[in-house]
C-alpha cells in the first residue's frame, strides 16, 4: 500500500469501527437496553478500541518504499548527529572516488577510447629497425615506394614529414607546425574536410601547383574563420599557395596534434633511392589481415630489399605498430602507474570508511539490540544499515564526481603546453566514467552496509543488552585491525612510490647537462629561402645566419650568440655515418657513426661548454675553406682512444656526397636529447660549410632574457622580413618541458601519497580511539589501583605501534613486489632504493604514532571515580 493512501485508509478504518460500534449499540437498544448502556456495553464488548485499530493497521504492512523513506530519514538524522564520523567518512570517500574518477577519465580518454577515425583499430604505423636494434626508425623514401607497390597487407600507406612552415604576411610572418603528407594520407584516415577538399595524389605529382589544407584552429586564428579563404593564394614557405580546404575542429593527427597546415609531400622516385630515412608513416590494414601477418610481410619485404639494395638496406628490418599504441607511447606506463596508485587510494578510502562504519555500528550495538529485543526483524535492521551506508556512499560519490569535474580540467591545465600527453584535447569526463564512479560508490556502500550489519546480527540479543553496548567481539576487532594494517601497508606502498619518483626526479633535476642553462634564449625557425638551385639556397642560408648573428651580437644586452640546427633538450638530434679516414670504410649496414650538430662559430662559448683541445669554429671556416669538424669528448674517446684527434681526418656522410673533414677541436660532453640521456659520440659541423635550413638562434643575455626577446626578433626581421619564428623559449623552459612528465608523475603520486598518509593516520586514530573508549573501565581500574599515567600511555601506544609495525612490514613487502613496475620511470635509482624505503617507513611510523597520541593521552586522563560509578 503506497504511503499516500495511508491517510485515506486510516479514515476508512475509523469509519468501519464506528459503524461496528453503532451497529452493536443499535442491536442492544433493540433488545431493550438504554441508549447510554447500549453504547457503553458495545464499547466493552469490543475490547480495547485503540489497540484493535493499532493491530489492524499493522496488518496492512509497510511497503519497501515506505520503509526506505523511513530508514532514509533516520539515516539523515544519524548523519547529522554524528558530524565527526560523517565528515571523516565523506572526506575519505570524496577523495577516493574523486581522484579515481579524475585519473580514470584521463586514462580512458588517452588509453582506452578508440581514435576518432573510421575503423581506427586498423590504422597502423610502419617503422624501420636499424641493424641489431629494435629502435623504431623513420622510413627511407625508396623503401616506402617499394612497400606501397609490393605489399598485400595494407589498403594504402601514407608518408608524413612534420616541419615548421613559414607563412608570410605583411610584417606578421609566422612559423607554424606543418605536415607534408602524401596524397593517400586523408583518404586512408577516412576524414572529410569541413569545407573545400583535402590533398589528393595529383597534388603531389611533379609540377602540380602548390596547395595547402588548413587546420580549423589556424583558419580561425589567421583568417577569422572566413569561408572565402578557399581559393586564396597565401605565401607558404615562399611559394604562393592556394588554400584548398579546411579540416573540421575535431580533426588532429594523434601523434602530431598541433599541426596547423597540411601540404603535399612530393616524393621523386629517382631521388627517393638516395634519400635518407625521413618519413613517418600511417597505413590502413586490409580487412581480414591480422597484425601478425602484416608484420611478417613487412619483415619479408625488408629482407628482400636488403638483398636488392645492400648499400641502403642491408640488415635493416621493418615492423608494424598500431597507431593507437604509438600515440599513447611512453605515456602508457605513466598512466597505468597513476591508475594503480589511484586505485590504492580508493582502497585505503574504502578501508577507512569500512572501519569507521564498523566502529560506529559496534558503538550502536546497544541501540540495535534494543530494537531487536522490541521485535525489529533482522532484515529490517540490515535494511536500515544498508540504507545508511548507501546514503553515505552516494553522497560521497556525488561529491567525488564534483571533485573530478573540477579536478580533470585542473589536471589538464596544470600540464605545460609541450607536455607529451597525447590526445590531451580529447580528455573529458564521459558518461562511462560517471557510471563507473557511481558503481564504485554503490559497491562500497553495499559492502560497508552489509558487512557491519552482519556483525550486529550475529551478536546475541541478550549478550548485547548485558554488555550495555560496550561489546565488540574478538572477530570484529580482528577485522578492524586487519583493515587498519592494510591501510598502513597501502599508504606505505604509495608513499614509497612517491618517494622513489621524487628522489629520481631530484636526481634528474640536479643532473649537470654540461652547459650553462641560465640567461640563454632559443629562437627556433626554419630558414625561408626562395626555392632556386641548391647552391643558391645553401649560400643564402649561410649568408642569412651570418647577418643575423652580426646584428644580434651587436645588441648591448647580448654577451654571445650562435646557432645550432637542433637545440639541446628538445628530445632528439640528427645522426649519420662517419668513420676515420685512416681506417678502412666499414661494411654496408655496419656503419659507425653517431649524432651530428651543425653549429655556428662561437657556439661553445655561447653555451658555456668547455673546449678541451684545439679551437672553436671561427669566421675563417666558411664555404670554400678546408672543411673542419669538432668532436665531443665521447666521440674522441670512441674513435681515437689514447690518440690525439687534432689534425686527423674523418669521412662524414652528411650532405651528398660524403665529405672528408679535419678535426680542429674537442669539446666537453653535454646531454643533448634530454637530461636522462647519457652523452653519446657527437660531431660538430660548421654551419657556414654545411648550411642547414633548420636553425635555432642561441642568445646568451646579460640581464633578464625576457627583456631581450623583442630586440632579437626585430633584428631577425631586419635581416629577412618574411622570416617567421616557430618558437621562442629560454633554455630553462626547454629543460622544464623536457622533464614535465616526471614532474607531473611526482606531483600526482606525491599528492596521492599525502592523501594516503592522511587517511592512514585517520584510520589508526579511529581504531585506537575506539579501543581506548572500549577500555575506559579497565583504564579506570588500573589507575585506581595505582598504575601511573605513563604506563597507561605506554600500553595504548603499544597497541598502535604494533599495528603500525605490522602495516609497515606488509607494506614494505608489497612495495618490493610492486615498485618494479616503476623501474622504467625511474632515473638512475633502483626501485628498491634503501634510502627511500627507510625514510618512508620512518615517516609512516611517526604518522601512526601521532595518530595514537591523542587517544592515548585521553586514556591517561580517565577519572577512576567517574568510571567506577558509571557501572
Amino acid at each position: 500500500m503506497p504511503f499516500w493512501d495511508r491517510r485515506k485508509e486510516n479514515r476508512e478504518l475509523d469509519e468501519e469501527l464506528r459503524f461496528h460500534l453503532e451497529q452493536e449499540a443499535q442491536l442492544r437498544r433493540d433488545r431493550g437496553e438504554s441508549a447510554d448502556a447500549a453504547r457503553l456495553n458495545a464499547r466493552r464488548d469490543f475490547g480495547n478500541l485503540t489497540r484493535a485499530a493499532e493491530v489492524t493497521r499493522q496488518m496492512w504492512g509497510w511497503s519497501a518504499w515506505e520503509r526506505g523513506v523511513q530508514d532514509l530519514r533516520f539515516a539523515l538524522r544519524m548523519m547529522r548527529k554524528n558530524l565527526a564520523f560523517t565528515g571523516l567518512a565523506l572526506v575519505a570517500l570524496t577523495l577516493g572516488i574523486g581522484a579515481t574518477t579524475a585519473i580514470f577519465s584521463v586514462v580512458n580518454s588517452v588509453l582506452l577510447r578508440p581514435l576518432p577515425f573510421p575503423e581506427p583499430d586498423r590504422l597502423m604505423t610502419i617503422w624501420e629497425n636499424p641493424p641489431k636494434s629494435t629502435h623504431n626508425n623513420l622510413v627511407q623514401s625508396g623503401n616506402l615506394l617499394a612497400w606501397r607497390e609490393r605489399n598485400r597487407s595494407f589498403v594504402d600507406i601514407a608518408a608524413m614529414f612534420p616541419m615548421g612552415i613559414n607563412v608570410e604576411g605583411q610584417g606578421d610572418a609566422v612559423q607554424v607546425a606543418g605536415l607534408r603528407v602524401t596524397g593517400s594520407f586523408f583518404p586512408l584516415l577516412g576524414v572529410r574536410p569541413l569545407i573545400g577538399r583535402t590533398i589528393r595524389a595529383e597534388d603531389a605529382a611533379p609540377g602540380a601547383p602548390p596547395v595547402v589544407v588548413l587546420s580549423y584552429g589556424f583558419w580561425q586564428r589567421r583568417f577569422g574563420g572566413h569561408a572565402d579563404v578557399l581559393g586564396q593564394k597565401i605565401p607558404v614557405a615562399t611559394e604562393s599557395t592556394e588554400v584548398i580546404g579546411v579540416m573540421p575542429p575535431d580533426f588532429a593527427f594523434p601523434t602530431l596534434p598541433r599541426t596547423a597546415l597540411f601540404v603535399p609531400l612530393k616524393i621523386d622516385p629517382v631521388q627517393a633511392l638516395r634519400d635518407g630515412r625521413n618519413y613517418s608513416t600511417v597505413a590502413r590494414l586490409r580487412p581480414g589481415v591480422a597484425l601478425g601477418a602484416a608484420r611478417a610481410e613487412m619483415h619479408a619485404m625488408a629482407l628482400q630489399l636488403g638483398i636488392e639494395r645492400p648499400n641502403m638496406d642491408a640488415k635493416w628490418d621493418a615492423t608494424v605498430i598500431p597507431l593507437l599504441e604509438k600515440t599513447v607511447g611512453e605515456t602508457r606506463t605513466t598512466l597505468l602507474v597513476l591508475l594503480g596508485a589511484v586505485f590504492f587510494v580508493l582502497l585505503i578510502a574504502c578501508a577507512n570508511v569500512a572501519n569507521l562504519l564498523l566502529m560506529r555500528n559496534s558503538a550502536r550495538r546497544r541501540e540495535m539490540t534494543v530494537r531487536m529485543a522490541l521485535g525489529a526483524g533482522r532484515w529490517r535492521l540490515l535494511h536500515q544499515l544498508a540504507i545508511e551506508s548507501l546514503l553515505l556512499s552516494v553522497t560521497g560519490g556525488a561529491l567525488g564526481f564534483l571533485l573530478a569535474l573540477w579536478g580533470v580540467p585542473a589536471l589538464v591545465s596544470m600540464l605545460p603546453a609541450e607536455f607529451p600527453l597525447p590526445r590531451m584535447s580529447e580528455i573529458r569526463i564521459d558518461p562511462g566514467v560517471l557510471a563507473f564512479t557511481f558503481l564504485i560508490s554503490l559497491a562500497c556502500g553495499l559492502f560497508f552496509g552489509i558487512f557491519p550489519a552482519m556483525q550486529v546480527n550475529r551478536g546475541q540479543v541478550s549478550d548485547g543488552l548485558r554488555q550495555g553496548g560496550r561489546g565488540g567481539s574478538i572477530a570484529n576487532r580482528a577485522v578492524r585491525h586487519t583493515l587498519v594494517i592494510a591501510e598502513i601497508a597501502l599508504a606505505l606502498l604509495l608513499v614509497v612510490g612517491a618517494g622513489l619518483m621524487l628522489r629520481s626526479f631530484l636526481l634528474l633535476h640536479s643532473v649537470d647537462p654540461g652547459f650553462r642553462t641560465d640567461h640563454l634564449l632559443t629562437f627556433r625557425m626554419v630558414l625561408t629561402t626562395p626555392l632556386t638551385t641548391l647552391e643558391q639556397v645553401t649560400a643564402l642560408r649561410a649568408q642569412r645566419v651570418r647577418q643575423m648573428l652580426e646584428k644580434v651580437r651587436a645588441l648591448p644586452d647580448v654577451s654571445a650568440a650562435s646557432t645550432i640546427h637542433i637545440p639541446p633538450m628538445t628530445g632528439g638530434n640528427s645522426g649519420t655515418d662517419y668513420h676515420r679516414l685512416d681506417r678502412p670504410a666499414p661494411q654496408a649496414g655496419q656503419g659507425t657513426g653517431g649524432a651530428v650538430s651543425v653549429i655556428s662559430d662561437d657556439y661553445f662559448r655561447t653555451m658555456g661548454i668547455p673546449v678541451l683541445a684545439g679551437r672553436e669554429f671561427d669566421a675563417h671556416d666558411r664555404a670554400g675553406a678546408p672543411k673542419v669538424m669538432i668532436l665531443n669528448q665521447a666521440a674522441a674517446d670512441y674513435f681515437y682512444p689514447g690518440e690525439n684527434p687534432l689534425g686527423k681526418r674523418m669521412k662524414v656522410s652528411w650532405g651528398p656526397p660524403p665529405d672528408e673533414m679535419e678535426i680542429v677541436g674537442v669539446a666537453g660532453n653535454i646531454r643533448h636529447d634530454s637530461l636522462d640521456t647519457k652523452p653519446d659520440p657527437c660531431i660538430f659541423l660548421a654551419h657556414a660549410q654545411q648550411p642547414s635550413g633548420f636553425q635555432t638562434l642561441l642568445v646568451r643575455t646579460r640581464g633578464n632574457p625576457q627583456n631581450v626577446i623583442a630586440e632579437v626578433r626585430d633584428q631577425i626581421r631586419a635581416v629577412s622580413p618574411s622570416q617567421g619564428i616557430q618558437e621562442i623559449a629560454t633554455m630553462e623552459n626547454l629543460i622544464g618541458d623536457s622533464i614535465a612528465r616526471p614532474k607531473l608523475e611526482v606531483a600526482i603520486l606525491g599528492l596521492f601519497g599525502f592523501i594516503a598518509l592522511l587517511l592512514a593516520c585517520v584510520g589508526i586514530y579511529a581504531v585506537i580511539s575506539y579501543s581506548v573508549e572500549q577500555r575506559t573501565r579497565e583504564m579506570g581500574i588500573r589507575l585506581a589501583l595505582g598504575a601511573s599515567p605513563g604506563s597507561v600511555l605506554q600500553m595504548v601506544l603499544r597497541e598502535g605501534v604494533l599495528l603500525a609495525a605490522a602495516g609497515i612490514v606488509v607494506g614494505v613487502g608489497a612495495s618490493l613486489l610492486l615498485t618494479k613496475y616503476l623501474a622504467t620511470l625511474l632515473y638512475s635509482i633502483r626501485p628498491t632504493d634503501p634510502l627511500v624505503y627507510a625514510s618512508v617507513s620512518a615517516v609512516l611510523a611517526i604518522a601512526a604514532i601521532a595518530g595514537c597520541l591523542f587517544p592515548a593521552r585521553r586514556a591517561t586522563r580517565v577519572d577512576p571515580a567517574m568510571v567506577l560509578r558509571e557501572e
Binding site: 476508512e12 468501519e16 459503524f19 453503532e22 464488548d45 469490543f46 489497540r51 489492524t56 496488518m59
Partner: protein
C-alpha cells in the same frame, strides 16, 4: 451456558465459514459467529478487524464499501476463489483434528 474462548487459529476459519453465506460487514460477521454457536463462542469483536484486514491482504477475502440495510456506509467482506479453497482445506484439517482429539479423549 458458559462462554468459551476461541481456540487459537480458528477465527480465520469461522470468518471464512460465515462469509460462505454471502458478503457481510465486520459487525455482521461477529454477530453471525455468536448466533450460529448459540452464543457459546464469545468472539471479542476487537479481534475481528486485524483478522479481516490480514485476510484481505492475503487475498482470502475482498472488501467493498456498500450501503447497509439501514442505509449506512459499511465495508462488506466477501470470499474470493482463494478464500473458498482455503476454507475447504481448513475444514478438512479441522475435521481430522477433531476426530483425532476425540479418539484420544474417548478411547473406544
Amino acid at each position: 451456558m458458559d462462554k468459551i474462548e476461541l481456540l487459537q487459529g480458528t477465527l480465520d476459519m469461522l470468518i471464512l465459514r460465515t462469509l460462505q453465506w454471502g458478503p457481510q460487514h465486520g459487525h455482521g460477521i461477529g454477530v453471525a459467529i455468536r448466533a450460529s454457536s448459540d452464543d457459546a463462542l464469545q468472539v471479542e469483536h476487537g479481534s475481528l478487524y486485524p483478522a479481516l484486514h490480514r485476510m484481505k491482504k492475503q487475498g482470502l477475502i475482498d472488501a467493498e464499501w456498500k450501503l447497509s440495510e439501514n442505509k449506512q456506509r459499511a465495508r462488506y467482506y466477501q470470499l474470493t476463489a482463494k478464500g473458498k479453497k482455503a476454507l475447504a482445506a481448513e475444514e478438512t484439517r479441522w475435521n481430522r483434528m477433531v476426530e483425532a482429539i476425540a479418539r484420544v479423549m474417548k478411547p473406544a
